[in-house]
């Protein structure tokens, strides 16, 4: 169990994931659910990036001369998380657009109230 204390980045990321998940599940307001989704995604990116870190090495950018293979951190997680961030941004933008449309239709942002309004005039 002591690994949890040494892997403090991963533990922090997992707790942040739990916080995001709880915000997503507990709150009824759609905007808060979207914030919860964002916290969850950020936690996963922190977890993934923490995988690539190696103590005492610098960023994978060759400034003037190639300083050997063992002097750079692992570049793969940072390359992957660029893609993950863009996915999270697009999903958030789409969820916010849906919230605006729902507010125009139902005049409320409370998901429970919206879901309880069974389609009264389905064509």
């Amino acid at each position: 169990m002591d690994i949890i204390l040494t892997n403090y980045f991963e533990t922090g990321a997992v707790i942040l994931f739990g916080v995001g998940f709880a915000t997503l599940m507990l709150h009824r307001n759609l905007i808060k659910k979207i914030i919860g989704m964002n916290i969850m995604d950020t936690a996963i990116f922190l977890f993934f990036i923490a995988k690539g870190y190696i103590k005492g090495k610098d960023a994978p950018i060759i400034i003037n001369s190639f300083k050997g293979v063992d002097s750079y951190i692992n570049p793969i997680p940072s390359a992957l998380m660029l893609t993950g961030i863009v996915v999270a941004v697009t999903t958030t933008a789409f969820a916010l657009a849906l919230t605006i449309k729902l507010y125009n239709h139902y005049q409320t942002v409370d998901l429970e109230v919206i879901l309880r309004m069974r389609g009264e005039n389905n064509d």
């Binding site: 003037n64 863009v86 605006i100 125009n104």
Partner: protein
């Protein structure tokens, strides 16, 4: 009326600088940290600031919704064609792009044009989404 005179004057100075910085980040993507995504975000934000300060009609005259969509689609078509070429270049032994001398701007073969294409896509997407959210209809 002209309560926002300060904003307009400061904007005239800052917005070109922000856009210059965005272009710098995109073009030096393969040399320094940054690249298409982050540079495109900077450019997109500069467009949003311009929209906020000078109102929609100025920005709509320069970057109309039509032009932005054409910008996105053409840079994506450019990206797909270039990447299609480089994917197939291993099989059909097509000539690879010149890598240029290491560390200069025009090095690294296709990476510079691809970075610019991705930068344009990201900038235009951010601005279009922002302009739709503000006006609530297309």
């Amino acid at each position: 009326m002209n309560k926002d005179i300060i904003l307009k004057e400061v904007g005239k100075i800052i917005i070109p600088l922000v856009q210059l910085f965005g272009i710098y980040v995109i073009i030096n993507g393969h040399l320094s940290p940054g690249g298409g995504f982050s540079g495109g975000t900077v450019l997109g934000t500069s467009l949003i600031i311009m929209h906020l300060i000078y109102g929609e009609d100025l920005v709509r005259s320069i970057y109309s919704r039509k032009k932005l969509l054409v910008g996105i689609s053409s840079s994506l078509i450019f990206y797909t064609i270039i990447k299609g070429y480089s994917f197939l270049s291993y099989e059909l032994e097509l000539p690879h792009p010149p890598l240029g001398n290491f560390g200069s701007i025009l090095s690294a073969g296709f990476i510079l044009p691809l970075n610019i294409a991705v930068g344009i896509v990201v900038a235009c997407v951010f601005y279009i989404i922002f302009s739709i959210f503000i006006k609530d209809e297309v």
